[in-house]
Structure formats: structure tokens, C-alpha cells
Point group: C2
Chain length 437, copies 2
């Protein structure tokens, strides 16, 4: 195979892993790496010079593929545009840039005849992008749902396994290097929203503006909810989903896309995704349901995805008109998101109420008036503050639940609406199961 | 995209599913299908004529891709060779032909400049082949382990869930169309051995002669073993594995490859693979561990894999020198298999012994003399036939266990060596987990 010359921007944790894996690929030659601080101590043997001048990478005509692993929105976005304009193919792990500027980036790449590969931007080492794009090519993908953030899954797993508080689990995640000093990007759902935008583009043909994606993080999840969920046969996970809700791939899609905590049935494969792993369920019209689980983060898993992309890109690079064959068809237009009022799912509620007669009756009446059927209701004795009631509902329209909760909050008997968490409903697999073997 | 003309051989369950999915692909034109019995009633609308003369498909110069879904070794093998000789690319779901004749088929394909795509030959709808070949391209794959036969997994799941006997669960599998009238191919491990040969080629570069693969099926698994395993925190699964044990991809590989029942820890993702699903664990040096779960059989999942291959092949077909870029590098030589004597794993044993003093002591002494450390030993009372003892060992060299069992069998106190089943040891993931997110 012919030698392909690469340039790279960024040499942090992932970048160092990429250098290590590239050293095992004889036909890939890394020519130069642009970094902010060339004096920084790095735990990797470099095969090429460093530079602080990105132009030395972006403007070098010999470099055919740019590997962007610096992360962040700026200046990475400018660098990627500049590489595309100079007819370089791009391999990137940058979910933020793709989610916020995907339509423009793919339009520009198309017009310049180059490809953008982005396996590492979602689910780290799990080859989810290539599975949807190539492995499930014969399918119309109806939904992609899963645990897409390793940091929050590490925190939730630890809260359950060791009965730790959110704060204590977060500190441990920070100590182990899974969470940053300011954990907001992970724990408030922004990171998952970026990934959902990218998965929407791949599965439904349209990126979704990250700011239009509903985000609810894990800061308010308590040990008590985790224990209660467990008792009912569930585990609390931060779940992201993108589901086609209407429109068409061509004319503009309506997408049900959101990230929030959910009670996942213990029997479901997503419940078994532990620690910093990611787990994803893909539903396709022919295949039914595929589940993938693996490291959603980490130096070498992420580098595995970056270098996998680079090898695949490089091996086909010399073929004429290559980019048009290998890029997923992604629209220049953003998708619309399904308004929250029409979402449907069952709910888990934990309420602190006054210890007085008729409270359960009033709750039941309010729910009934808003078309909410109760699946389970448990009150175990009373305590000094009153009584704690846990309710699991059947499937509810979101606007009905909002109205019922507003009415509940106006009643004197309600001391605290401690928790309101959605319950995951596994999608039945529609694929037929006739015998083959 | 330019229109690509296809021919097909076989129109059974999978073939009919392929026709249905192809009808959704406007640039793929199915020109002719060769079948044995053109009068047979089929539940699919055909876009093209049927023929009983395979030459009409194989010798038609307009047909660029042959889809082979007739199954079986002969005459499918001849048809595939003939198609290759006529410079047609081949998409096949035929694990038996690939496993038994893979080296010759891929050598011939290389010499004729055509590609063989075979996603459907292993794990049905789960895109395992493309994940290993493309998604994990940057990895040296050390092992592929998993549940590769949906029929036996259906039977074992049913035995556990409904406390049924093997015979009764088999009858149900036959009634539901999962098992054939003669179930030997599935329940004795032949089907898994074919798939392991193919996975060995993909992961390690060499096919393995199916007859050299150790096969132990599920006929002797009893409800009692399933219940005992459960008590110790395990579930019994038919596990196939192919693991690099030495040699090199280039010079000839030594492969630890086998299929036999195993006790899988309930906490391991493979234990959660239920019903007719398949589940596979792939270990790569960079990514660590990836798990995939999905329908390993069935009309539409298998057709999804066949048509996915066809689309991917067709979309790149016009590119010059295409086949050499897209075929995995597979050797013309068969791999050697690691002799059973040097396998290592813990064991589960169930023994019926005489109710006499010193028996446990004698067992312990025999095991100790053969370097076998006991992890757990349980005897719960005695019964009319004596006593039942269940033993879980620590890791044992296979030849040591063979020697110990031979010695046990020679002792008068042994009434019956009822069961001897290996215990699955999850491979620790070697990938580093530094923070990325």
C-alpha cells in the first residue's frame, strides 16, 4: 500500500495514544504535529517534529490527512475548515465542532471533494459510527438510544455499587481522571447532546442544533432514588436518544431527541453497562435491535477509533472520486426536534407529603384527571416530616404529567416533589425471526 | 449512483428477505434468481424471472455481483468458484463453504481481482465482520469469544427460564422453527465451529479446518447443572472462542479455538444474551473490549447483513483495483490449533459418590496431586444413591484435569461423573483508561 502522509493538531491524552498506534502502521507517516506548548513533557516517542505554528501542518501540500485531536470549538473549527479548503481529508474526535457546525462542515467537504471521518467523536472506542454507516447500510434506522457518557455512568455505577452520594462519587471520578474540575459538560448532559446531534445526522440524515436538545443531567439523582429504583427492578442511567418522529431524510426530519436520567429495567442490556463504559441500542427496520457495549472514553480506545478511521481513509484515498462514495449522506439543514409536550413514557415519582387522611386519594384523583394511570404506589409508614410516597405510572403524555405536577405542587399536602424521573421502555424488535439458524 | 446488476442463487427464507430489502434500493437491480423448484409458493414479490439453470445467472456477463443464499457445501462451492472465475464479486451467507474452503476461495478471488463479502455468515444481523475488519482496523485482535448459535442459546435460555429439560426445550425450538428436525448441526457445535473458522481468518489471518476444532455440544447439559450454576452465580452458555496463541499472522498462526458449554458469570454481558440472540466479545490491543449483541438468525436480520454487504460492495465497485483495498488479508494456509492439553480454565464438576467416610478427603488428595486447587465444594446431605458433590476449581491445565478425572474414575467410591463443564474467565481489558470523557 502506498505511503500516506499525515499531519496532526493536538497532542494531549488522545493525541499521544494516536502517535503510539500510528507507529504500528508502516504505510502511515506522521509528518508534523502542531501543539500549543512544545516544551510540555509527553509520554510518547515522537516520530516527527512539533510546531506551534498550525500553518506548518495546514498549509503543507504533502499532508493528505489532517488528524484533529485538540478538541474544543475554537480554534479547532477554523483549522478544520482551512484543512478542507486545502483539499485535505479530516479525521476528528471533536464532537463539539461537529455537533455545532456539522451541516456547514459536511457541505464544505462535499464541495471540496474531501471526506470527514469521525468515529472517535461518539462512544470512544466503540465502532458505532461505522456500524450504523456501513454495517447496517441496508436498514432504515428508527432510533439510537444509549449511555453515551462514561463519566456520568461511572458516577451512577459508583453511587449504586458503594451507596455513595453524588458528591462523593463525583470526587472519585475527578480523582481517577474521569471527570474534570468543572464537571458541567458531562454531568449536565452537554456532552451527550453533542453526540446525539452527530448520531442524528448519521441515523436520520440531519444534525440537530445542540441548544435545541432537551438536557437533564444527573446532579439531582439521590442515593434514595437509586435504592428505590433497584427495589422496583430498575437501575438509573443517563440515557440519550434520537428517534425519527416524522418528516423525511430528504425534506427535513422531525426528531425526538433528548438526554435525561431514566430508570432502565435490570433485564435490559443497558442496565448492565457499568463503570465508564458506553452502551448503545440501534434499531433498524430489517435487523431489529443491535446492542454495542465498550469503552466510551480513555486514551487508547479513543485513539483506536481515530487511527481506525485514518487507516480506512488512507487505504481508499487513491481511488478517484473517493469522498462521495464514503461519506454518509448528511443534509445541509438542521433537523427540527419533537416538542416535549408530545413525548410519551412512564414516570417514577417520589413525593414527601403531609401525614393526613385522604392524601393518596387526592393524588390519585389529580392523576386520573390528567389521564395518568398508576402502575405501582408504595408508602412505607410515616416519618417525622410526614410520609414518602413512591409512584410508578404507566405511559404518560409529557404535557399531562406537567399539568398534573403543577396541580400537585399547588396543594397544601405536598411537602416536596423530591424526584420525577422517566422510565425507559424497551422498543420491541420488529424484525421477523424465521429460522435460518 | 450507477445501477449495479445482481444475480442470486437460492430463494428460501433468507433469499426472500433479501428480495424484500433489495426492492428498497433503487440502484441495485436483481436480474435473475436461480432456484431448485420454480413452482414453490413464495411469500415475496419477485422483480425478475426465476430459472432452474444456474448458468443463466453465473454466465450472464451483465451480472456483476452474485448473491449466494442457497446454503450447504455442494453445489454452492462450485457455483461460487464459477462466479469468481467469471470475475463476479460474491456476497455469501454460506458459513460451511467459507469455513471448509476459505483459503482456496480467497486465493481464487485475489487472483481474479474480485471480492467476497460474508457479513451474514457469522452472527446473522450483527455486523460483527465489518466491525472487526473496518471498525477495529487499528487493533491487533487477540480474541473473539461468544455465543454464536441462536438455536442452542434459545434452548439453554428456555431450560433455565422454564425449568424445562433439554428434550422439551429442543422440541419447542423445533416447533418455533429455530431448530431443524435433525438438530445435530446446531446442538453438537458444528455450526459454531464453521463460524469460528471464519472469525479466525478475520481476526488472526488464517482459517481453521472445522474438523480440527474441538466441539462439545449441549446435549448433556441437565436442568440440575443449570440450577447449580445459578446458585454459584453463573449461567450455562454454549461458548465459541478463537484466541491467538502463538505464531504470526504472516508465517502461520497457532490458534486456541474451540466450542463447548461454559459457566458464564451472571455479571458478564454474555450471560445477559437471551433467547435466539448472539453475543460476541472482541478483544483488541488498543480498544480493550467491545461487546455486540443482536439477532444471530432470522430472515430479515440475515437479509440485512446480505444486503448491507451488497450495497457496500456495489457503491465501491466502479473504483479501479477495488477488491484489493476491501478484502481482509487472509492467508492461503490453514492455522494450527492449540492442543487441548495446554488449555487453561477453571472447572465445574458434579459427582455422584458413595456415602462412605473419607470420600471428600480422597477427592481432595487426587486433585491436589494434579495441581488442582478447589475454589468451592458443596455436598448437601445424602440420598438413596449416595451423595452428590459439586466442585468449582481454580484455573487448571486441561491435561491435569484429564489425569485427575481418570484417577477419580478408577476409584470405587465414584458412582457417576455426572458433569464436567468449563468456567468462563473474562479477559481483563488491557486498554488504558486515561481521561478523555
Amino acid at each position: 500500500m502506498a505511503r500516506v502522509v499525515l499531519g496532526m493538531i493536538g497532542l494531549g491524552t488522545v493525541g499521544s495514544g494516536v502517535v503510539r498506534l500510528l507507529s504500528q502502521q508502516r504505510h502511515l507517516a506522521l509528518k508534523k504535529v502542531a501543539v500549543r506548548d512544545p516544551g510540555k513533557k509527553r509520554h510518547v516517542q515522537l516520530p516527527c517534529p512539533l510546531t506551534t505554528d498550525v500553518s506548518e501542518v495546514l498549509d503543507d501540500p504533502e499532508i493528505e490527512i489532517l488528524i484533529e485531536v485538540m478538541g474544543g470549538e475554537t480554534p479547532a473549527l477554523d483549522h478544520i475548515f482551512r484543512a478542507i479548503d486545502r483539499h485535505k481529508h479530516v479525521v476528528t474526535a471533536n464532537k463539539e465542532v461537529l455537533a455545532k457546525h456539522g451541516p456547514q462542515l459536511f457541505e464544505r467537504a462535499r464541495s471540496k471533494g474531501v471526506a470527514i471521518f469521525f468515529e472517535a467523536s461518539v462512544a470512544g472506542g466503540v465502532p458505532l459510527i461505522s456500524t450504523i454507516h456501513k454495517g447496517l447500510e441496508a436498514n432504515q434506522i428508527s432510533s439510537v438510544t444509549g449511555i453515551l457518557n462514561g463519566t456520568t455512568n461511572f458516577i451512577l455505577s459508583r453511587m449504586e455499587d458503594r451507596q455513595e452520594s453524588y458528591q462523593s462519587a463525583l470526587l472519585e471520578a475527578q480523582a481517577q481522571g474521569f471527570a474534570e474540575a468543572d464537571p458541567s459538560n458531562d454531568v449536565d448532559g452537554h456532552d451527550v447532546a453533542y453526540k446525539l446531534s452527530i448520531l442524528s445526522a448519521l441515523a436520520h440524515g440531519h444534525f440537530v442544533r445542540p441548544e435545541t436538545i432537551y438536557k437533564e443531567g444527573i446532579r439531582s439523582i439521590s442515593s434514595e432514588d437509586i435504592a428505590q429504583a433497584r427495589e422496583f427492578g430498575y437501575r438509573i442511567k443517563l440515557v440519550g436518544m434520537t428517534e425519527r418522529a416524522g418528516g423525511s431524510r430528504e425534506d427535513g426530519a422531525l426528531i425526538n431527541v433528548r438526554v435525561h436520567p431514566m430508570l432502565v429495567p435490570l433485564s435490559h442490556p443497558l442496565a448492565a453497562v457499568s463503570g465508564s463504559n458506553n452502551g448503545i441500542v440501534v434499531n433498524g427496520h430489517a435487523v431489529g435491535q443491535i446492542v454495542m457495549v465498550g469503552p466510551g472514553a480513555g486514551q487508547m480506545p479513543t485513539a483506536s477509533a481515530v487511527v481506525g478511521d485514518t487507516i480506512n481513509l488512507a487505504s481508499a484515498l487513491k481511488l478517484p472520486d473517493f469522498a462521495s462514495y464514503f461519506q454518509p449522506s448528511i443534509s445541509d439543514h438542521w433537523a427540527d426536534t419533537l416538542p416535549s409536550g408530545s413525548w410519551r413514557c412512564p414516570f417514577y415519582l417520589r413525593l414527601d407529603v403531609a401525614d393526613s387522611p385522604g392524601v393518596i386519594g387526592q393524588i390519585g384523583t389529580i392523576f386520573g384527571a390528567h389521564n395518568i394511570s398508576i402502575l405501582s404506589i408504595v408508602q412505607r409508614g410515616v416519618h417525622e416530616k410526614g410520609a414518602t410516597i413512591v409512584i410508578l405510572t404507566q405511559e404518560v403524555i409529557n404535557s399531562d404529567m406537567d399539568a398534573a405536577l403543577a396541580e400537585l405542587k399547588a396543594r397544601d399536602f405536598l411537602i416536596d416533589l423530591a424526584s420525577c424521573i422517566r422510565i425507559f421502555q424497551p422498543v420491541p424488535s420488529h424484525a421477523q425471526r424465521n429460522r435460518t439458524d
